[in-house]
């Protein structure tokens, strides 16, 4: 009941609102510094007990997020512990919910980034079936020799279960590179796709496609990368806290594990929220925590200063040792048969080869690195790679990086998040689990407005929340559909194509929020649902019209058809309920 009083007080005095928000922000920032202090003490304690400096600092870094969440929970805890946690869960869930929905949806789509890449470039869909691995390697090598004879590094990507194309990549010296994953590169890479039948080379898109959708998951868009990473960090921290407080509220996890009571309005929404929350709880905990761990060096830089003079840079160097550099000898030497090397590796791996990396081709220092298709461990281990001498095809010992144990742990957790190791089944499992998370966030947001529907229907804030709910929960899938639709309808020769697609996505999202705000909220639910159905139907039909043999495309068409049917049914149901 205190909440209601607060709201009344806030309405009366706008200055007190600003004061309250400032107070809240101060508390959150103070909690951050408290967490940093605690982790530093923890690392010092570990060092006192004889743990090495790197491991102590890294474990403090990994645990600092737990400390932070714990401190926040303790700060917000009051006499009635469960009730105060309920408030924390509700309000942090509401404030961050829409962006978390965006992050979860882009993340779940991101598990299929390679497939989406090839879906969004139908022109480069060349069938590589009927060619043996050796033939493909020879074709790729021939092209590499022709177009990049002086390059220091060649890479050949053979078609695998996810991406059915033959790709080559070679290094060129450059100053800046905006498309790379890392923030600063001294060299850049050029990627080309080869049609194995004609041997023609094609230039794939350097931006756009599934890769952009995937990168929006952790970099956002329109803003500098570092700011994006920081904002996503704040959101994932809030997700972590919301999850933990949610567990505290809902103690009888096993009692109503299978309970979903339909057609009971508020009760059903609650059941759906709890069900989706409980069922994949380990996944959510893993994914939020590993998301934080990804940029742990950026989020918690202060911890490293306690043990290292130069801070993060020094810690990074010690915690993540790189492979020793191969020095260019500038003495020409013949290149051995790459086919023979790949055959050797295949026998050793007992699994097909996926990537071949040739460092310094036609030099005495040439080294060939071979990577297998299906990985054996969750973290990107050396177990998946083999090293060969590029002159005499001798197998070289795999370099022992001697990573500290805590960095290995961090790599494993990060690997679980990215799921590069996943085969088709596991990829779908990850996808569905994250979709469940999306549904959990959506039902939580709906629950908030459903609970307050009768009391505060006319108020501005309620209308705003409702509009954001509708515009995000239904408008965001629609804007993804528009993203694909723009891709299909605009000519490939357009230079600003990638930008246009992204702009269309965000414009649709914004417009659907605006639409929901202006129109009656109940009507906009089913109007937008029907719009979704229409968009995905037209995508499926467009896919049928431009039918090709590429299996990924027909899979996408089928999937879009199912989404369209689901949204249409949903719209119909809502409409029926409102008219009744």
């Amino acid at each position: 009941m205190r909440k209601e009083k607060d709201i009344v007080a806030i309405k009366k005095n706008p200055l007190s609102t600003a004061f309250n928000i400032a107070k809240l922000l101060l508390v959150v920032v103070l909690a951050y510094f408290l967490a940093v202090g605690l982790s530093i003490i923890f690392s010092k304690l570990l060092m006192f007990f004889g743990v090495s400096k790197v491991n102590a600092t890294m474990s403090a870094l990994l645990l600092s997020f737990f400390f932070y969440a714990l401190i926040i929970i303790l700060i917000f805890a009051q006499k009635q512990f469960r009730k105060s946690m309920d408030a924390l869960h509700t309000w942090s869930g509401l404030i961050f919910g829409w962006f978390l929905f965006f992050i979860f949806l882009t993340g779940s789509v991101g598990y299929f980034n390679k497939e989406l890449d090839s879906y969004m470039e139908p022109k480069l869909a060349f069938c590589t079936k009927g060619f043996s691995q050796q033939e493909l390697i020879n074709i790729a090598l021939k092209e590499l020799k022709k177009i990049a004879p002086n390059s220091k590094k060649w890479q050949i990507y053979l078609p695998d279960s996810r991406e059915d194309r033959l790709k080559i990549r070679y290094q060129v010296p450059s100053r800046s590179n905006f498309t790379g994953m890392k923030f600063n590169h001294k060299v850049s890479y050029i990627t080309r796709v080869i049609d194995p039948k004609t041997g023609a080379i094609f230039r794939p898109r350097e931006d756009g496609g599934g890769e952009v959708l995937y990168k929006m998951h952790f970099l956002l868009h329109y803003i500098p990368k570092k700011v994006g990473v920081f904002i996503v960090g704040v959101f994932s921290m809030s997700m972590f806290i919301t999850l933990l407080s949610g567990i505290i509220i809902h103690t009888n996890i096993f009692k109503d594990y299978f309970t979903f009571r339909k057609n009971k309005n508020l009760r059903s929404w609650m059941d759906a929220h709890v069900l989706t929350g409980v069922v994949a709880l380990p996944f959510y905990l893993m994914i939020t925590y590993s998301g934080l761990v990804f940029f742990a060096f950026i989020y918690m830089p202060l911890i490293s200063f306690a043990n290292y003079e130069n801070g993060v840079k020094e810690l990074r160097k010690e915690a993540l040792p790189k492979e020793s550099k191969i020095f260019f000898q500038n003495e020409s030497a013949p290149l051995t048969s790459i086919c023979a090397i790949s055959q050797k590796a295949e026998i050793f791996f007992e699994s097909p080869v996926q990537e071949i990396r040739i460092v310094h081709p036609y030099d005495t220092s040439c080294i060939v690195q071979v990577k297998r298709e299906d990985t054996v461990a969750a973290h990107n281990n050396m177990l998946d790679k083999l090293y060969f001498n590029g002159v005499n095809a001798e197998m070289l010992p795999t370099p022992n990086l001697n990573r500290p144990i805590m960095s290995e742990l961090r790599k494993t957790v990060m690997g679980l998040h990215r799921a590069h190791f996943a085969d088709t089944l596991l990829r779908w499992i990850f996808f569905f689990s994250s979709l469940l998370g999306t549904i959990m966030i959506a039902t939580g947001l709906i629950l908030w407005s459903k609970k307050r529907e009768l009391k505060s229907r006319g108020s501005f804030s309620f209308r705003l929340v409702n509009a954001l709910n509708i515009g995000t929960l239904i408008g965001l899938p629609a804007s993804f559909g528009i993203y694909f639709l723009t891709n299909r309808l605009t000519p490939d020769t357009l230079l600003v194509k990638a930008n246009l697609e992204i702009n269309a996505l965000f414009l649709t999202w914004f417009l659907s929020i605006l639409f929901a705000f202006v129109r009656d909220s109940k009507k906009s639910w089913f109007v937008l649902a029907y719009l979704n159905g229409f968009i995905y139907f037209s995508l499926a039909i467009l896919g049928l019209l431009t039918y090709n043999q590429y299996s990924v495309h027909s899979a996408f068409n089928l999937f879009f058809f199912f989404i369209a049917v689901a949204f249409t049914l949903m719209g119909h149901r809502i409409q029926k309920r409102i008219n009744r």
Binding site: F254, K255, D256, Y257, F258, T259, F260, R261, K262, L275, T276, V279, A280, P282, F283, V376, A377, A378, T412, L416, F421, A422, L425, L426, I429, F430, F432, S433, L436
Partner: protein
């Protein structure tokens, strides 16, 4: 082989779900006997444990556990929806 894991999970979760109040009420409409509940619980948990062990045996600890947890959540969602959309007391009706 992974289908066997799925099958074990389905059967195990069926037993476990019947020990809970809501699904049991939905299925049988009579109050469960304590002894049957005990049997159901033991069978369900042991089947789940076996499926986890099998998954780890097939795919190794890291992958096996990933797959197991994923399948567990999917099957549970399916059961929850099934119990919700099932007509009431089907077992009683069919026996009569």
């Amino acid at each position: 082989m992974i289908l066997v894991v799925l099958l074990l999970l389905i059967i195990g979760l069926a037993f476990l779900s019947m020990t809970l109040k809501y699904p049991h009420k939905k299925l049988f409409c009579v109050k469960p006997h304590t002894q049957t509940l005990y049997i159901y619980r033991v069978t369900g948990w042991s089947l789940l444990a076996h499926s986890l062990a099998l998954a780890i045996y097939i795919d190794g600890a890291s992958f096996g556990m990933c797959i197991w947890f994923g399948l567990l959540s999917l099957v549970s969602v399916c059961y929850a929806l099934l119990y919700s959309y099932l007509p009431k007391n089907i077992f009683i009706r069919s026996s009569m």
